[in-house]
Symmetry: C4
Subunit: 230 residues, 4 copies
């Protein structure tokens, strides 16, 4: 069942570790099969060394396990909430990567300060509002809710990342691999932004004209980065 | 004698090096056999490359070597003091990991700023008071004393780590491996807290409701993280 | 065609990754054959693992591909602009290395603070002015233009590096390898300068007499560093 | 000639690279044979990958090459100056390690803030005064001079390290290996001190009683760290 996606999700999860954005089991990546309405996700708390494609868990859109002997990631309801509301995404990833988590703990958006950022995120990477005490009961689902709420006036395709206040980053993309790729890029962007802030706390964002221009090099119809036909 | 524990303590000490929380010989881990009242600990000042399970030292609760040709870690009296006073712990670890040591040198507790912290430590990781000049004679024993003193009104099971002022971190757990695991987690928590402080020195702690909720995901009867039955 | 240079450019690009100044495909190095007026450069967006000398792209001084099936780096017009205006250079490199990019994002020159810097860069590593909105149309060519503009009163041989505002560093040298070498050195210089700034934001530059003296140890007729005859 | 020392100096220089305190060729270590009045030192500017014991250079106390085809390190006069004036040392090392160099560039001593520091350096690691313009002619010899000058009222055996203003650290010890060991330890001490400063710029030194007590654990007649007989 969904063997190809399991393989992809397995590889994407390993990439989180190879790129050093997770410590121990702190991270997870998933991918959705939109036609079948099924999501493949990493099992909860299993060391990366013991993972295999067969250990990936298949859940339906309500979070019920459809295949797999292991329990899915505790963050599964967050992934599902995002899949339900961001209808064009195919993969989701979550880490506690150090610099991105620091911005999340500081309850600050990562300001768009330069080309490294604007090549992948079209503007600030936003930070959610805090959850209220009432929202604790359904912690994971409500985490999904505040993410989606934060993107009410933002384009989730153009900014495929968010910081959850007092927690850490979530990213997404067309598939599990791209979601993970955005997690790795986000951590580096958060790191450079941290250093920039250290040099000049009165951070000024990059000019809008440059942001538009650089983003367009890699995204949209006029993109000319890489080897794809324009 | 205690072959299984020697193997575990040996592996736990190696993990300190693999996870890069020790430089040269700066760290030690131990485990206690509560029934026999014996502790297995790393020998003092032996390079990690030369360690083996057989080189682990067995001491009794007074610090006398019961088995082993090498001298035990100079910090042995601290470990013993903790085992005597924290009766439910089974392992202790000590490092000079960089970020945790910086908080210790600054005589500051690591504030509980987000999910990475609260998943393992239920509230601030406290810093001990300074030792007085009179307490220098029995440096190690008194280091144990100020740690226990600091936990008079704290739950050592819920916060399995401490910073010793002007020195560095000690951690504990149900066995040597978990004590080491907490050392590694603490260093990452200290690191993210350092960056958060850099972004916003007026650090605000995470809301109590979120702290309670997140900690409960991994600890206690209602825990649902990982593969253990709830 | 230009097989030897292709091999050198390939090796130089790999060095960028080995020295960890690029993440994913974020960097490029080139070398010029001045006699033929041809430049060998990395293809755009190809993972380092898939590169080979044969995949390097040969372009003429107008940017037309003369040999190679792949599209050249999107930054090719910047490289060409530098080759046309800095007539004594033979290689160019570009990265988004973390600390150098932070200085670029802060729109600050890297001040010349000590021997590590002055051994390779004779004075501050300058930062360009910002591009105007009008200059966005020809982003890459105009990036080259503001670099050359910035060096109007500076010696590009003595300071083989620049920061492009809101973007990142470019470096150059007698060949592709030396350009890459300068990228790696620049990142370390930017890193030490960042830490120095953290210790003392009122940074004072090193004395001119020491700058002159140290630079002369490695450069010019009286140089006596290394194994070359003086 | 001095084959054993060449081997030791070769290994000590490699350790500089293994412990990541040098980039490219930026570092050197030497050892003296006090009876013969000869010093074995790394050749100048040779990549670590190409080094071998046979390539080490033997010089006499005036800096004349006695054996070896390569030119000795440009810093040889500094090493010799230290050997002449610090009569009990047997090895010297020099690096541009990042954090120690930052303190040197900031013209600040590394304050003695905790146990990691005081285990190896009995008090602040001092920074030299700046060289005057007149002292540039004999840059290396005068660098040695300001180091020795700085230790007029300090015990070079108890503080085996110094920062040279606007330059970087020099360390020493009983042999080349210990000098290198002190370079590695110094970098970590400088790093933790940098973080401590970031948390609390009004740095307070550790109490003298604790400094005395900790240093004595590893040094002098009453030392009880490690496996040597007390």
């Amino acid at each position: 069942m969904l063997e190809e996606i399991k393989e992809k999700v397995f590889e994407a999860n390993l990439e989180l570790q190879k790129k050093k954005v997770v410590l121990y089991t702190w991270g997870n990546a998933s991918e959705i099969d939109r036609e079948q309405g099924l999501v493949v996700i990493k099992p909860s708390g299993v060391p990366y060394e013991e993972l295999s494609p067969q250990k990936m868990v298949v859940v339906d859109m309500t979070g019920q396990v459809v295949e797999g002997k292991l329990r899915p990631s505790v963050d599964t309801p967050i992934h599902l909430y995002l899949y339900r509301n961001f209808e064009q995404i195919g993969g989701v990833a979550h880490t506690h990567s150090s610099y991105a988590s620091a911005w999340a703990q500081a309850n600050l958006a990562i300001p768009c300060l330069g080309g490294t950022h604007s090549d992948y995120f079209y503007g600030d990477v936003p930070c959610t509002r805090r959850l209220t005490a009432d929202e604790m009961d359904q912690l994971e689902t409500n985490t999904g809710k505040v993410i989606v709420e934060r993107f009410q006036d933002l384009d989730y395709n153009a900014i495929p990342a968010v910081l959850v206040a007092f927690h850490g980053p979530f990213t997404w993309g067309k598939d599990a691999y791209q979601a993970v790729f955005h997690s790795v890029v986000l951590e580096e962007v958060a790191r450079i932004a941290y250093f920039t802030h250290g040099l000049n706390p009165g951070i000024e964002r990059m000019p809008q004209s440059l942001l538009d221009r650089r983003y367009a090099r890699k995204h949209g119809k006029g993109a000319y980065y890489g080897q794809q036909a324009p």
